[in-house]
Every structure is written in structure tokens, then in C-alpha cells.
């Protein structure tokens, strides 16, 4: 089969009309547009996307943020708002959903098509219990005949006045409990309200509600993005087994290729609202054809060894209001030609990688495949060799020696370690604890009802100059509190913090030199910048407080901008005009403005897309090489930590449960919690997850565990 021009049904179901007359779900040339109210421009959220889904199959829809994944899900489920214009066809079991009435669509959602969203607790109604959600879903899924009168009246109240139906209500409660059991929760959860569930529990509840109607198709929109590594693995396993057991089909939307690789049978890679490549998971991951797929795979942390530069994709996803003349990826593509800039690239069929039946390896929308294939044949490693041009790959020559050097210093340091420490550690925590009162009021104190939240318990750590210490743990483990203690925003309840051998106190007790010795990168890059302050002023603030005069500030600000890879013109922008990655760079420039001996990085890569994350990782390596500072890197993402850190400390419940050299921790963990973290992050999904949902801040971490204890009290 050869490619067709743009606009034609390009990515239709591979097995057309042989055994299966039609696939379970078939999306063909879907386009979703809406008008941007302010600028009167057309936003092309989805621009000709196609995919097909069979029973018992999980199809992954992958792409960076802004690629139209969520808009696709909403359009398929008929949940796009009234101002969105949808074209193309969505066929569900042969019925074109674009043709049916709103009411039939609603009934379809109630009975055969379920959706699970990214933020589970936000998609459950806060004023209704889990049981109310489940029984409602069960009731809506019952045959329409049962409730024809109510349905025709248009009421959906949970009021059954007919005594003959009361028995059915008990029955529903029982079935609700069964559903919870099926997703690994016990019947106690029936009484919970959504806010009482942890992230993982809420996602299980959502899944249970989605399964209540025993649907044929499940659409899962980033279902694990907001979850911790271990919970993520559990939810994915649950999803996989459910699809297999119930003979349904599922579409798993994610920005994470690794995660999709673990559970999906086929993968669809989308970019700028279009499909770039589609095919069986193994084929796409092992021999990706499209330059974009290759680049995405290259950005993954396990594509190179720890401490090495990652290949990156330059540039940004094009704005949804621009209509590209040719291939939307062209501006970022390493092997772009004039042809693909100006004309829509053809769709090419790919042979099955391992000679599978039908010879079907999926399809790729790219005109340069011959060249890709040729270079693939020439080069040994598909990823390394294929990436010249804009993909900054340092696989050869000059940069290689850097890597060697870095490796060298690492072993040197280890030998120093063996001989005993020579210099004072850049940072030392001795038996540090921190607890917060749960209820801070005079009444609580007077009545002696004070309860405490132990955020950090007896933590001892040390970081040598020039070394990177990674601290990993799930949310609530006390990582953020450790950072606050190091930077002086909090004071330890017990123990001491020493920087360069000197004990330090709270930030306002520190001397100018002590302040200059520590730089901090905050977790959410954008919120750590004053929205009213231009970049120039933000970067100059620490310099100003350190007493530098105007001229020194100007010169240093320019140096810093180029150091973190920003242009001079960025200096006059405000944070609102910068992308997430650019805000991160400004934050970094601020953190290293005074050339601190110690830089503390709080989740530096969360909330970033894979490609941006790769660039930030490279920047961090580069900065450390130039400045020689010690880094403390805090993250829930074991992959990033393993990639960047020399030593790793694993935290749980406020304690350090294990610490040691990075290789040792990753290869032979001694603590079973570390093992679980590793297992969850491992397989092919290692560290490829980034969080686009907001991670809880340290404050929320506290309250989350409080809610847990509160529940114990109230139940």
C-alpha cells in the first residue's frame, strides 16, 4: 500500500475487510478546531488524526504536550465543547458517532464507552461519595427499558420511589463493592468522598466507575501522569489485566513512550495534531522510522549512559494556530528537505519488523524514509548515527573526551572517599529532624492536644565539593523539607546543618557569604519568578542583595543568560512570555548567579516534556562541569537521579532508608523499598515519565498524610 495525499484517510485500519468487517473503534482523519476568542485565530487542536482499535487491544497515543491527544479523546467521546468544530469520522462498532444524536451518544457513554482522565480526584464530584458514583454508573448502564419513563422525562436523580426497585438498589451496592474489589480497593472505600482518596486510590475509583458499565472501549487520558512511580506501575498492571479479562479495547494516551511501550500492543505517535508514525509497539520502538519518533526515543534517559549528554530536539512544538505548509515537524527535523517544508509528506507503509503476518509494520508520514533507511544501514546504532544536525548528540570525537573526564573524576572521588575525606564537605546534615504541629492554635497547645507531623526524622547526609547527591522518594517522603532546611527557609527541630563546615541557621541569620554559598532551583520554574518582574531583574536580584553595583550586575546578568542558553532579548521578557523550559533556565541562572559551592535542585525536570527534560539534563551537566559546584538533586524520578547523580539517598517517611553510590543503588539495592522504586521505574519505562500535572508542594505533602491519619480517626 502506498501513501496517499493529505486529506485522504491515511491511517486506516490495517486489516480492512477480511476477518473483521470493521474495527471496534475507528477514528479517521479527525480534525478539531476552535476559535481562539481573543485573537480570532483558528486553533487546530487535532489536524487529521486517524487510529483504529480492536477488541482486546491497547493502543497507545503518544506525543508531547500540545499535540492534540486530549482533544482527540474528547472529540471521540463527544465531550468537545460547543465551540469546537469537529470533522472527520469516528466509527464505534460500525456506527458513525458524528451522525448520531447527543442523546444516543450520551447513552453510548453510559453503556459502552468509558473515559478515565488524568486528574482522577478532580473528575469525581466532590460532594458525592464513591458509592454514589458507582451506583449512578451502574444505574445508567442498565438497559434503557428499565428506566424508560425517567429517561424520557430527562431526570437522572438517584431517587427510586418505586418499592419494587429497592431490592435493586441493594443489589447495586453489592455490585459497587465488587467493582471496588476488582480494582484492588475494599468495600470501606464506598463511604469515602473523592478528596479522601489518595491519588492512586482515586484513579482506582475512576477505573471502577469506568468499568461499571462493562464497556467495550476505554479511553484513558494520561491516567498515571499524576501518580507516583510505584502507584503508576500498579495502575498500569490493573489496566492491562482488565483489558485482557474483559475483552475490551483501550486507548492509552500518554506523552511517555516508555510507559506506552510496557502495556500497548500498537502505538500511534502524534505531533501537532497529526499522526507521524503508527505501528506495532515493538516495531516502532525497536526500529523507529520517523525522525520525530527517533528523536523522542533518543531523549530517553536510558538511551545513553549515566552522566552523559542526551540527544535533544531543538525548538518547540509549533503553536496550534499556525498552519504548516508541509510537515509540521520540519522546523525541528534533522534531515529536513525543501520538499517537506513545502508539501505535505506522503504516508508510507512499513514492512513488519519480524516478518509478521500481513507484513504489516504500520505506517509513517515522512518523505525521507529512503534516506532514513539508508543511514540506518550505514550506521551501527540507529539512534546515535541517525542523529546529526539539530539533534545535539555528542556521540563522537571531542565531546566523548568530556565524558571520559567526568567518569574519571567520579572514580577519583571514590578513591578519595576510600582514603577518608580531605576537604570539608560542601553540605553536611547531622541527625536533622523537623516536625510541624498539625494544629497550630493556642487551644490545641493549652489542652495538650498538640499532634505533630514528623516531616524529617534523624537524617544525616553529606555532599562533597563538586559531587552530585540525588535524593529520591515519593511525595510525602520529606524531600522538600530537607531542601528547606538546607536553604534555611526552615529551622531543624533537632540536629545541625553545616555548609562548608560551618553550622548555618535560618536564612535571615546567615551571613552574606553563607547565603552566596547556596543556590536553589525551585520546583515549579514559573511560580518561582515574580510575574511582574522582567527576567533581567529576576536574575539580578541575588547579585543586588550581594552588593554588586549596577555595572557588575549588567555584565554578570549577560554572562548568566548565555551560560544557561538564553538570548539577550530574553532579558526584557516577563515570565508570562516564556515557555516552561525557558523559565527553568532563568531559575537556574538565578541559582548559580553567585557561583555557589552548593546548588540545590528541587524536581528540576518535573512538569517538562521529554525533549525539554533532556535539554535541562544536559544543561545541568554542563553547568556543573563549568562551575564545579556540588549539586543536591531532589526528585521522585529515579531515572533522572540515576542519570545525573554520583550518589543517591532514598527517602521514605522522613527517613533516609538507603544511600550509596548511584551504580550500587541502581544495581544492587539493599532496602526493599528501593527495590520497589526501581522495579516500578524499570522495564522499558525507566525514568521516561515526566509529570505535567502539578506535584504536591511540601505543604500539601504534609496535609496529604494528615488526611490519611484523620481518616483513621474519623472512621
Amino acid at each position: 500500500m502506498t501513501g496517499r495525499g493529505r486529506g485522504g484517510p491515511a491511517f486506516e485500519n490495517p486489516a480492512d475487510d477480511d476477518e473483521h468487517p470493521h474495527p471496534l473503534l475507528e477514528v479517521d482523519d479527525l480534525r478539531v478546531r476552535f476559535d481562539d476568542g481573543r485573537d480570532r485565530e483558528t486553533v487546530r487542536a487535532v489536524d487529521g488524526l486517524s487510529l483504529a482499535l480492536e477488541r482486546g487491544e491497547i493502543v497507545g497515543l503518544v506525543g508531547e504536550s500540545g499535540c492534540g491527544k486530549s482533544a482527540t479523546v474528547r472529540a471521540v467521546a463527544g465531550l468537545h465543547g460547543g465551540d469546537a468544530r469537529v470533522d472527520g469520522s469516528v466509527r464505534f462498532d460500525g456506527i458513525d458517532l458524528r451522525e448520531v444524536s447527543d442523546e444516543s451518544l450520551r447513552r453510548l457513554r453510559a453503556t459502552r464507552l468509558s473515559t478515565v482522565f488524568q486528574d482522577p480526584s478532580a473528575t469525581l464530584t466532590p460532594t458525592r461519595t464513591v458509592e454514589a458514583h458507582l451506583t449512578e454508573a451502574l444505574r445508567l448502564a442498565e438497559r434503557p427499558a428499565d428506566r424508560s419513563l425517567r429517561a424520557s422525562l430527562g431526570f437522572g436523580f438517584d431517587l427510586d420511589l418505586d418499592p419494587r426497585k429497592w431490592g435493586r438498589r441493594d443489589d447495586r451496592r453489592e455490585r459497587a463493592a465488587d467493582l471496588l474489589e476488582a480494582v484492588g480497593l475494599d468495600a470501606r472505600a464506598l463511604e469515602w468522598y473523592p478528596h479522601e482518596c489518595s491519588g492512586g486510590e482515586a484513579q482506582r475509583v475512576s477505573l471502577a466507575v469506568a468499568l461499571a458499565s462493562d464497556p467495550d472501549v476505554l479511553l484513558a487520558d494520561e491516567p498515571t501522569t499524576a501518580l507516583d512511580a510505584t502507584t503508576r506501575a500498579e495502575i498500569l498492571a490493573l489496566l492491562e489485566s482488565t483489558v485482557a479479562d474483559r475483552e475490551m479495547g483501550a486507548v492509552l494516551v500518554s506523552h511517555d513512550l516508555g510507559l506506552v511501550a510496557d502495556v500497548c500492543d500498537r502505538v500511534v505517535v502524534a505531533y501537532a495534531g497529526r499522526v507521524m508514525e503508527a505501528g506495532p509497539t515493538d516495531r516502532v520502538l525497536e526500529s523507529p522510522r520517523h525522525p520525530y519518533t527517533r528523536a523522542l526515543l533518543g531523549c530517553r534517559l536510558d538511551s545513553v549512559g549515566p552522566g552523559k549528554r542526551l540527544p535533544t530536539i531543538e525548538g518547540e512544538v509549533p503553536g496550534p494556530t499556525v498552519e504548516p505548509a508541509g510537515c509540521p515537524f520540519a522546523p525541528r527535523c534533522p534531515r529536513v528537505t525543501d520538499e517537506c517544508r513545502n508539501a505535505a509528506p506522503p504516508v508510507v507503509a512499513v514492512d513488519g519488523g519480524d516478518g509478521g503476518e500481513c507484513g504489516d509494520g504500520g505506517r509513517v508520514r515522512c518523505g525521507e524514509l529512503e534516506r532514513v533507511a539508508a543511514s540506518e544501514a550505514a550506521g551501527a546504532n540507529a539512534v546515535t548515527a541517525a542523529d546529526g544536525g539539530a539533534l545535539e548528540q555528542c556521540g563522537d570525537g571531542t565531546n566523548g573526551s568530556d565524558r571520559e573526564r567526568k567518569g574519571g573524576t567520579k572514580s577519583e572521588r571514590q578513591s578519595t572517599d576510600a582514603n577518608g575525606t580531605r576537604t570539608a564537605p560542601a553540605l553536611e546534615l547531622c541527625g536533622v529532624s523537623k516536625r510541624y504541629p498539625l494544629e497550630d492554635s493556642w487551644l490545641a497547645r493549652a489542652t495538650g492536644r498538640d499532634r505533630w507531623h514528623e516531616a524529617v526524622r534523624d537524617v544525616s547526609l553529606s555532599v562533597r565539593p563538586g559531587e552530585t547527591l540525588g535524593i529520591v522518594g515519593e511525595s510525602g517522603a520529606g524531600k522538600s523539607t530537607v531542601i528547606d532546611l538546607v536553604t534555611g527557609l526552615e529551622e531543624p527541630t533537632a540536629g545541625a546543618v553545616r555548609i562548608d563546615g560551618e553550622p548555618v541557621g535560618r536564612v535571615n541569620e546567615r551571613t552574606r557569604d553563607q547565603l552566596a554559598a547556596v543556590g536553589r532551583l525551585f520546583q515549579h520554574p514559573r511560580s518561582s519568578l515574580d510575574p511582574r518582574q522582567p527576567v533581567r531583574a529576576a536574575i539580578a536580584e541575588p547579585l543586588r542583595e550581594a552588593g554588586r553595583d549596577r555595572e557588575e550586575r549588567r555584565v554578570r546578568t549577560e554572562e548568566l543568560l548565555s551560560l544557561v542558553g538564553l538570548e539577550a532579548h530574553h532579558a526584557d521578557r516577563r515570565p508570562g512570555q516564556l515557555s516552561g523550559g525557558e523559565c527553568q533556565r532563568v531559575g537556574l541562572a538565578r541559582a548559580v548567579a553567585l557561583e555557589p559551592a552548593l546548588v540545590v535542585l528541587d524536581e528540576p525536570t518535573s512538569a517538562l516534556d521529554v525533549s525539554v527534560r533532556a535539554r535541562v539534563c544536559n544543561l545541568l551537566l554542563e553547568l556543573q562541569r563549568r562551575l564545579g559546584s556540588a549539586f543536591v538533586l531532589v526528585s521522585h524520578d529515579l531515572g533522572v537521579v540515576a542519570h545525573l547523580a554520583d550518589r543517591i539517598a532514598v527517602m521514605r517517611g522522613g527517613r533516609v532508608v538507603e544511600s550509596g553510590p548511584a551504580e550500587r543503588i541502581c544495581e544492587s539495592p539493599t532496602h526493599d523499598y528501593t527495590e520497589r522504586l526501581l522495579a516500578a521505574a524499570n522495564a522499558r519505562g525507566v525514568g521516561t515519565e515526566t509529570d505535567s500535572g502539578d506535584r504536591p508542594t511540601d505543604l500539601e505533602e504534609g496535609s496529604q498524610s494528615e488526611t490519611e491519619t484523620e481518616r483513621e480517626h474519623t472512621k
Partner: protein, 312 residues
């Protein structure tokens, strides 16, 4: 641990209310005893009579002692006597309170009956003529002084059409015009609140979550969105009681109803301090009590805060 903490802060606020109420006297220009006696006698009082009055009222004690004595009396239910021989203040309050409560209740009823449908319709048909009309009327309602609205209603409803009595209190028809007058402003505020609250909730992801589960649109609004959207409205209705009590002062004057408002205004102009203090204390206490009640109701309705307010 909500109730205990909330109750303790309520006690503190009530104590503050009594201090403020008592302290009001000291705002009066000149010596209160002289001022009061002058009002009572109609001429400059003799020094002896001022001294007697001061001794009798305990005005020579240090201020904290005066306050403590007064507070002790208040706690025993003794609010003093009117300076003008209208009897004990407590009896006056008991006589006048029902009229005001009837007016307040009726106007809240009017307000809710108007505001709920108007606000819901406005939110559900956002951007249509229904929405614009209801918003415009609400805006007019917020901007219209209720004393003028009262006279307008008297001119039209009583004088021109003769449907209702002009003024007075006691019978149901006499309550209609005042209740509409007072209810209008409140209805306007509530309509805007219901609309904005519902719009906000309708934009939340759980509403789409419900649609994604195939819940019929009407049930999405009524069962899922409205309950959450009405939570701030409950608080607002509680807070509006303050507005109603304040507005009642003016409306009672307009319709010449013998309620707390007319009692207060007359007492203020006559410098009948015990009565002023009594009404102020009663209004403050009522308002604090209603706020406490509103909070309790809110906590019952919103599962998110019922757990001791943690985790918000």
C-alpha cells in the same frame, strides 16, 4: 476538632461585641450624664442632679468596673431601663423583635425564590438574552437604594393601585411591600452569586467527568453541579442576614413598622443609650449566631471541610 475551636472563637467575638457595644457611649460628645439629663429635662441640668445621676448609673467607677457591672447585668438578662420610661429594655426588644424577624424571613424567602431560578437560568443559558436580562435586572437591583424602592412600591402598589396598605404592621398584606423592597437587593446579590458560582462549577473537570460517564445533561447540572455550586450561596444567605437587619432599619422607617430598626433609630436620636446598647447587642449577637449556624450547615453540606478543615 471543628466545633470546639469555632465555639471558642465565637465566645471571643461575642465578648468583643459587648465591649464595642458598651464603648459606644464614650463616642458621645461631652459628658453622657449631662447630655442625657438635658434630653430628659429639656433644660440645662443642675450640678447636683448630674452628680446624682452619675452615682445612680455607676458612672463614677473606673471604666472597666462599669463595663464589668454592665456585663454582669446583661448576663443576668438585665439590659437596663429606657431613659424615657418606656420600661425595661429587654421588654422593648421582645416586643419589637418579631416584626423584624417576620420582615427578614419574608424577604429572604422572596430573595431565594427569585434568585435561584434566575441564577440557574442565567448560568445554563450563558450569553443568551435570558442571561443578559437577568444580569441587567440583578445589577439594577443591587444599585437601587431600598428606601427609594420602598416609596416607589408605595406610590404604585398602595397609592395608585390600592393593592396593599401604605404602612403599618401586623397583618400579612402589610408585610408584602416591605418584604419585596428588602428582598429585591438581596435577590440581586444572590442571583449574581448563584450564576457565577454555577458557572465556575460547570467549568470544573468533574462536570465533564460526569458527562463522560453518560449522566444526562439535566442531572449533570442538578445532581452534580448545583449541590457544589450552592455551597457558597448558603454562606451568602447567612451573611445576607446582616444585610437584611441593616436594610430592615431603613425599610421599617419607610413603612413605619414598629421593629428593631425603628426602635434603634428613635433611640439614637433621643440618645436613649440603654435602648441603643440593647438593640446593638441583640443585632450583633443574632448575626454572630447566624454565622455560626451557617458555618455548621456548610460543614454538613460540604464533605471537603467536614474533616476538621484539614487538607484544604
Amino acid at each position: 476538632m471543628f466545633p470546639l475551636r469555632r465555639l471558642s472563637s465565637t465566645v471571643v467575638v461575642l465578648l468583643g461585641v459587648t465591649i464595642l457595644t458598651y464603648g459606644l457611649i464614650f463616642l458621645t460628645p461631652g459628658d453622657p450624664a449631662t447630655v442625657v439629663l438635658q434630653e430628659q429635662l429639656g433644660h440645662q441640668p443642675s450640678e447636683q442632679s448630674v452628680r446624682d445621676f452619675r452615682a445612680e448609673q455607676g458612672l463614677d467607677d473606673p471604666v472597666p468596673v462599669q463595663y464589668a457591672n454592665w456585663l454582669a447585668d446583661v448576663l443576668r438578662g438585665d439590659l437596663g431601663d429606657s431613659y424615657y420610661g418606656d420600661g425595661p429594655v429587654l421588654e422593648l426588644l421582645v416586643d419589637h423583635l418579631p416584626q423584624t424577624l417576620a420582615l427578614a424571613g419574608a424577604s429572604i424567602l422572596v430573595a431565594i425564590c427569585v434568585a435561584l431560578p434566575a441564577g440557574i437560568a442565567s448560568a445554563c443559558y450563558r450569553g443568551t438574552r435570558i442571561d443578559y436580562a437577568s444580569q441587567l435586572i440583578a445589577l439594577l437591583g443591587v444599585s437601587t437604594p431600598n428606601f427609594w424602592l420602598g416609596y416607589l412600591l408605595i406610590i404604585v402598589g398602595a397609592l395608585r393601585l390600592g393593592l396593599f396598605p401604605v404602612a403599618g404592621a401586623g397583618s400579612l398584606p402589610q408585610l408584602v411591600l416591605p418584604a419585596i423592597t428588602l428582598g429585591t437587593g438581596m435577590a440581586a446579590v444572590l442571583t449574581r452569586l448563584v450564576r457565577s458560582s454555577l458557572l465556575e462549577v460547570l467549568a470544573e473537570p468533574f462536570v465533564d467527568g460526569a458527562r463522560a460517564r453518560g449522566v444526562p445533561e439535566r442531572a449533570v447540572v442538578v445532581v452534580h453541579a448545583l449541590r457544589t455550586a450552592l455551597l457558597p450561596v448558603v454562606t451568602m444567605i447567612g451573611l445576607q442576614l446582616g444585610y437584611v437587619l441593616g436594610g430592615a432599619v431603613v425599610v421599617e422607617v419607610v413603612f413605619q413598622r414598629p421593629g428593631l430598626g425603628t426602635l434603634l433609630v428613635d433611640a439614637v436620636f433621643a440618645r436613649d443609650y440603654p435602648v441603643v446598647q440593647g438593640v446593638t447587642l441583640l443585632v450583633g449577637t443574632l448575626f454572630v449566631a447566624v454565622n455560626l449556624l451557617t458555618d455548621l450547615v456548610y460543614r454538613r453540606l460540604d464533605p471537603r471541610v467536614s474533616i476538621g478543615g484539614v487538607g484544604t
